[in-house]
Subunit: 227 residues, 2 copies
DNA sequence: CGATTTCTTGACTATTTGGTCAAAGCAGAG
DNA sequence: CTCTGCTTTGACCAAATAGTCAAGAAATCG
């Protein structure tokens, strides 16, 4: 230990501010910069996935030097985890909001609309997940098998009850949920393809509503009991 | 030009055997190795995308030295393009096979079943596309805007006619196609998530049939005209 | 203000990665 | 067998990339 070593030190554990479960509450600057970083990282990871993205890319997008970025998140992996965690909540919320006491068709209509709106407003979040899943869910695998699984089973129970009461056509509840996920995510993840096929009309006003209308028509009429 | 230069040369253009539009027909060894490489590359690119994959990974998977692999495809990009092109045909075939003269419900049922079967049998191909699209379709962008677009418009016309004849419920044809793509691809691309949520039952015999049944039920009942 | 802590960065390192090359090994036509 | 062209690879290189470090700049607090 030399004289210099003791001169600058008050940060008792680790060098990074609040390094993963840190205690001290973040500075104003920390809060701002962490958010800037997460925003930038989301855009980058969403396009190229974890392995295909570089810290330099994220730093450039965050308009920040690489060492500075690594001051807030020590490793590329830490940024990735942070972005994923920051988005997971949003992801579950709509499904969690399905109300067993509500009207089945109305609840599902609302759910689909909400997911479609999220796909349109936060496509990067959707693509981030898609990349993570495609890569084999190395980071959120646990989450999928525990929290997500539990939530899906719970809501599947609700749907199953609805079916039993004759308020929905007989349908496998889990596959129904998958179908809704698939279709709503498609418009975020495969946006480029949608645009390529449909051309300029995608940017036209009302396209979102038109899409929601079409999807709802297909899915809802399929689960609405016939008379 | 020195003596050595002239000593070894019979391959009049380029160093790589049949380098992209080459003329000479491939050797037996060439045919074998190219296929081995494409198979290996498909698996690797499908998981990590173009940027996230390394030539070394592909070479290892192909059980081949890196220089040897690069003897057959000079650049990483060339391998990628080759894999994509080799898969594009398979991708279009089912949609192209929709028969305007057939029974609407039957044609769409067959189409969905075919796509689901492909998702189960060749998930890597599906994931390769997903990665390419997520990355912004840098390579197949043109293809999407020309061939795919034309095919979709053509088949949309067929569906629109069916709707006009009252043989299908009123539905936006293009969004119907997107919905089918979305759902069928979901089971390939998000396989990890499906497994996480459903657990061991995914591996059980008959799961594929059960899935097909559920999806068909949701989509078909949605487009079948009511009486 | 002065002292202390937080923030920022240029310069640097070790490793990974795409790609090259010369030379050695091999297959097949004659 | 022999000879030619095809195939394979160890060794190598330059660029990219994750991450480090020490020192300077800016806040913050008394």
């Amino acid at each position: 230990m030399d004289a210099k070593a003791g001169a600058r030190r008050k940060n008792e554990a680790g060098d990074t501010p609040n390094p993963e479960g840190g205690e001290r509450q973040p500075t104003r600057i920390q809060a701002i910069n962490r958010e800037i970083i997460l925003d930038a990282a989301l855009e980058v990871f969403a396009v190229h996935g974890f392995r295909g993205s570089t810290v330099d890319q994220i730093a450039a997008r965050a308009d920040m030097s690489k060492p500075n970025l690594l001051y807030y998140y020590r490793r590329k992996q830490d940024i990735y985890r942070a972005v994923l965690e920051a988005t997971l909540g949003d992801w579950l919320a709509p499904l969690a909001a399905i109300d067993p006491a509500g009207d089945p068709i109305e609840e599902l209509r609302r759910y689909i609309s909400l997911k479609l709106a999220m796909s349109a407003e936060k496509p990067a979040a959707s693509r981030l997940f898609a990349n993570e899943i495609l890569a084999g869910a190395p980071v959120i695998g646990d989450f999928l098998e525990t929290r997500l699984r539990a939530l899906v089973q719970e809501k599947a129970g609700v749907i199953r009850r609805w079916v039993g009461e004759g308020r929905l056509a007989p349908v496998d509840p889990v596959h129904l949920i998958f179908t809704i996920w698939a279709v709503t995510q498609h418009y975020a993840d495969f946006d480029v393809q949608v645009k390529a096929v449909l051309g300029s009309q995608v940017d036209a006003a009302g396209f979102r509503e038109q899409t929601a209308q079409a999807v709802l028509s297909i899915v809802l009429n399929g689960i609405r009991p016939r008379r």
